[in-house]
Subunit: 428 residues, 2 copies
C-alpha cells in the first residue's frame, strides 16, 4: 500500500470520502465499546470461580502455622501465602510481606510513608525542598498520579525496546540527590508490552544513587501474564542482582493476583530486602492489625502452588491471545504500509501501545469516541497527562468480547486513518 | 470485709502469707492464659461460619447496581454494603465510604492524609510547627500509637462517667488552633465500657474549634456490641447533632464488622459529611482502584440487613455475657470492701477497666504474668504508654474459655491483693 504521505492531495481526499462514509455507517449503529482499561473479561473471571468453593463452613481455617485465619493475628501474611507470592515474584518467602487486595495501595502507602517518615532513617520527603521521580514514558497513568498527588516532580525518561534509556537514568540517579525513585513496569510493560533486557536490569542493579533513600519501584504487574507458551519474555530477577552488586536495599518489588484471580479481591505483596521489610513492618504495625488472612488462605487452597498458578495463567492466555491477535492483525492489515502509526507486538501483559503521527493522538481518541468507542485518554500514559508528541495511544483489548473487539478495532483504525489524512493534508 | 487500709500490719502480713500460699499453688500449674487483647473467642467466630457458604461458584456475584463484584470498579463500596454499614453506624448510605478490612487502617490513612495534604484545603500538618490531639484517658492504645507515630503531641483528657471532661475539651479545642483532633470511643468505651452521655455528645457538636481542620475521630467500634437485651446504653448520633449545630464537617465516624463477622476479614467504613467524603474520595482514587467487593457482598448476603446483624450480635452477647459476669462476680466477691480497686460494670463492648491503688498497676500485671496470665501492659491505655497514676489495668475477658477465665480472674485478684498489701505496708 502506498504511504499516505506519498499520495497526492486528490488521492487523499478521495480516500477520506470513502472512509467518512464507512465511519458514518458504524457511527449510526450507536455502539458502546470500551478499550480503555486493562480489565479482565467475564470469561477470564469465570476461570477462578472455583475459588468461591475452596473455603466453606466445613473447612479447617487454620493456616500451616496453626493460626485461626478467622481471628486477629499475623501482621505480614500467612506462611503459605508468602510462599505462593514469593514464587510468583521470584524471591524468598523471607523477603515478602503480604498486604490487602491492591498493589497500587502498597505503592501509594510506600510513597506516603516516605513523605512522612523517610526511608530507613532518611529525612522525611515532606521536609525536603524538592523530590523527583523518574518516569519511563509512555508508562502507567496510576503511577504518575501517585507521585503528582504528593507534589513529586516527574522527569520523563524515554522507553527503548530494551527498557528505559539507561544513560539518562544513570545520569539522574547517580548525580541528583533529589531523585528518590523510578517507576518501572519491567515485564510486558504498560503500555508497550515489552520487557527490560538483561543488560538494562543489570545496569539498574549497578546504579550508584546520589540519594541513600533512592529506590527502584519495580511494579512486576505482568510477571506471569504470558500470551504464548512458546514465545515468552524473560526478566532477570532484580532483587538478587541488586544484592550481588552490593545494593540489597535499592529495590521494592510489587505484585498482586488482581489479574490472576479477581481484581479487587486478590492478594498483593511487596518483595524487598529484610532491612526494608523490617522498616516497613514497624509502620504497618501502627496501620493495621493485619490483612485478610481468609482471602490469603482462599488463594493458596485454590492455586495450591506456583505450578497451579502458572497452569491457571495458561487459561487466561487462551482467552487473551485471540483478542490480541484480532487487534494486531487488523492493525497490520489496515495500517501496514500507510506510515501513519507504529505499534509493538507484545508477548504478554494487557496492552498494545500505538504511536500515531505526532499531534494526532487526542484527535484519534476523540474521533473514536464519536463512534461509541472509549479509549484510554490520549496523554494518560505520560506524567501530568501531557504527551509532548501527542502521539501515544494505549489499546486495552482484554475486556470486550471477540465480536465487540473486531468492531472496536475497525473504529479505531478508521479514526487513525481519518485524523492522519487531515494532518497530512494540513502540510500539503 | 474490712478494708486493707484499715487493717493492722499484723493482719496484713497474716493475709499476705495466706495469699502467697494460694499464689504458689496456682503458679505451680504452669498455666498460659491471655486476657490482653479484645479478641473474639473461637465460639464467637463459629457464629459466622455460614458466611463461608453464602458465596459459591454458582452464586450470582453482581451487586444491586448490576456491577460484577469480581472485577474492577466501584471505588467507595457497593450500594447494599453502604446500606448495611450506614444502618450499623446510624447515618445515611450517602454519608458513607466502604473501605477494606480494618477501621484502624482508615484512621491511620485519615491522619496520614492530613499530614501530607491537610483537611479540605487546610495546610498539610507536616508543614506546621505543632499538631496536637486530645486523648481521653484511659483509652485505646492503638489510637495513641498512630498519633505518636506522626509526631503529634497528645494531651490527656480525664474520662468521667459521662465521657471526656468536656470543660477541658472545650478549653483546648475552642482556643488552641494546634488542636486538630480528639480520639473517641463513644459507646462501651475502650477500656471503661461506658457510654458518652447525651449532654456530652451535644457539647461535642457545639464545639467552636479554633482550627478549621479540627475533626472528632469518633471510633464507634462497639456501637452494636451490647451484652444485654434489657440493659442497653444509648448514644446520641453525632453526625446529625453536628449538622444541627452548623458544624456538619466536624466529625469522622469509623466502624467495622471486625467483631461482628471475622477480625481481619471484615468490612470497615467511614461515615461523615458529603464534603468530607468528596475530599476523601479524591485521595482514595489515587490510592486504590477499589476495595474487596466480593467480601462486601459476602457480608450483605449473610447478614441481609441491620436486623439480621442485630440478631447475630445477640448470639455474641450470649457467649460474652457469662464471661463478663464471671470476672465481675469474682471482682465483687473477692475485692468488694477491700478498697484496693475500682471497676465499672459495662453493659457492652469488650473490656472491663480496673483502677488499682496508685503505683500498683505495673506490679500487678507483672505479678499476674509470674503465674502465667498475660494482661494488657500497664500504661498501654495512656498516650506514650505512661499512666501518671500507674493505676489503670484493662481486662479483656472475651478470648479465654469460661473455665480458663475463672482461673485467670483468680490469678488477677490474687495479684491485686498481694501487690496492694505491699503498697499499704510501705506506708504503715
Amino acid at each position: 500500500m502506498t504511504a499516505y504521505k506519498d499520495r497526492s492531495r486528490e488521492e487523499l481526499l478521495q480516500e477520506k470520502s470513502v472512509l467518512e462514509e464507512k465511519f458514518k455507517e458504524v457511527k449510526a449503529k450507536g455502539l458502546k465499546l470500551d478499550m480503555s482499561r486493562g480489565k479482565p473479561s467475564a470469561a477470564q473471571l469465570d476461570l477462578a470461580m472455583g475459588m468461591m468453593d475452596v473455603l466453606n463452613s466445613e473447612t479447617d481455617l487454620k493456616c500451616s502455622e496453626g493460626v485461626d485465619c478467622r481471628n486477629y493475628g499475623v501482621l505480614d501474611g500467612i506462611r503459605e501465602a508468602k510462599e505462593l507470592l514469593a514464587d510468583m515474584t521470584e524471591v524468598s518467602p523471607d523477603n515478602i510481606i503480604i498486604y490487602g487486595n491492591s498493589s497500587l495501595n502498597i505503592m501509594y502507602d510506600t510513597v506516603s510513608r516516605s513523605m512522612t517518615h523517610g526511608v530507613m532513617g532518611s529525612t522525611p520527603w515532606c521536609k525536603l525542598e524538592k523530590v523527583k521521580f523518574l518516569c519511563p514514558v509512555p508508562g502507567y497513568d496510576r503511577h504518575f498520579t501517585i507521585t503528582e498527588h504528593f507534589g513529586i516532580e516527574m522527569i520523563n525518561i524515554p522507553m527503548t525496546p530494551d527498557g528505559p534509556d539507561m544513560d539518562l537514568v544513570e545520569k539522574y540517579v547517580n548525580n541528583d540527590p533529589a531523585v528518590k525513585g523510578i517507576w518501572c513496569v519491567p515485564k510486558y510493560s504498560n503500555p508497550q508490552g515489552s520487557t527490560y533486557s538483561d543488560e538494562t536490569v543489570r545496569r539498574f542493579a549497578r546504579l550508584n544513587p546520589a540519594a541513600e533513600d533512592f529506590r527502584i519501584y519495580w511494579d512486576n504487574a505482568y510477571g506471569i501474564h504470558h500470551l504464548y507458551d512458546d514465545k515468552q519474555d524473560n526478566l532477570v530477577e532484580i532483587l538478587m542482582e541488586c544484592k550481588k552488586e552490593g545494593h540489597p536495599d535499592m529495590v521494592y518489588k510489587f505484585c498482586s493476583t488482581s489479574k490472576v484471580s479477581f481484581p479487587g479481591s486478590g492478594v498483593a505483596a511487596i518483595g524487598t530486602s529484610k532491612a526494608n521489610l523490617e522498616y516497613i513492618k514497624k509502620q504497618m504495625a501502627m496501620q493495621t492489625i493485619g490483612h485478610d488472612k481468609l482471602n490469603q488462605l482462599r488463594h493458596v487452597r485454590f492455586f495450591k502452588d506456583i505450578h497451579g498458578m502458572v497452569q491457571h495463567m495458561r487459561k487466561h492466555a487462551e482467552i487473551l491471545r485471540p483478542k490480541f491477535e484480532t487487534v494486531l492483525n487488523c492493525l497490520k492489515h489496515e495500517l501496514g504500509g500507510l506510515e501513519i502509526g507504529n505499534w509493538i507486538e507484545p508477548r504478554g501483559g494487557y496492552f498494545i501501545s500505538f504511536d500515531a503521527l505526532p499531534g494526532c493522538a487526542k484527535d484519534i481518541v476523540a474521533k473514536a469516541k464519536e463512534a461509541g468507542l472509549v479509549m484510554t485518554g490520549a496523554g494518560a500514559t505520560f506524567p501530568y497527562g501531557k504527551d509532548p508528541q501527542d502521539s501515544n495511544i494505549r489499546i486495552a483489548p482484554s475486556y470486550p468480547t471477540p465480536e465487540e473487539l473486531a468492531i472496536a478495532t475497525d473504529i479505531f483504525v478508521l479514526s487513525v486513518k481519518l485524523v492522519s489524512i487531515d494532518k497530512i493534508l494540513e502540510n500539503k
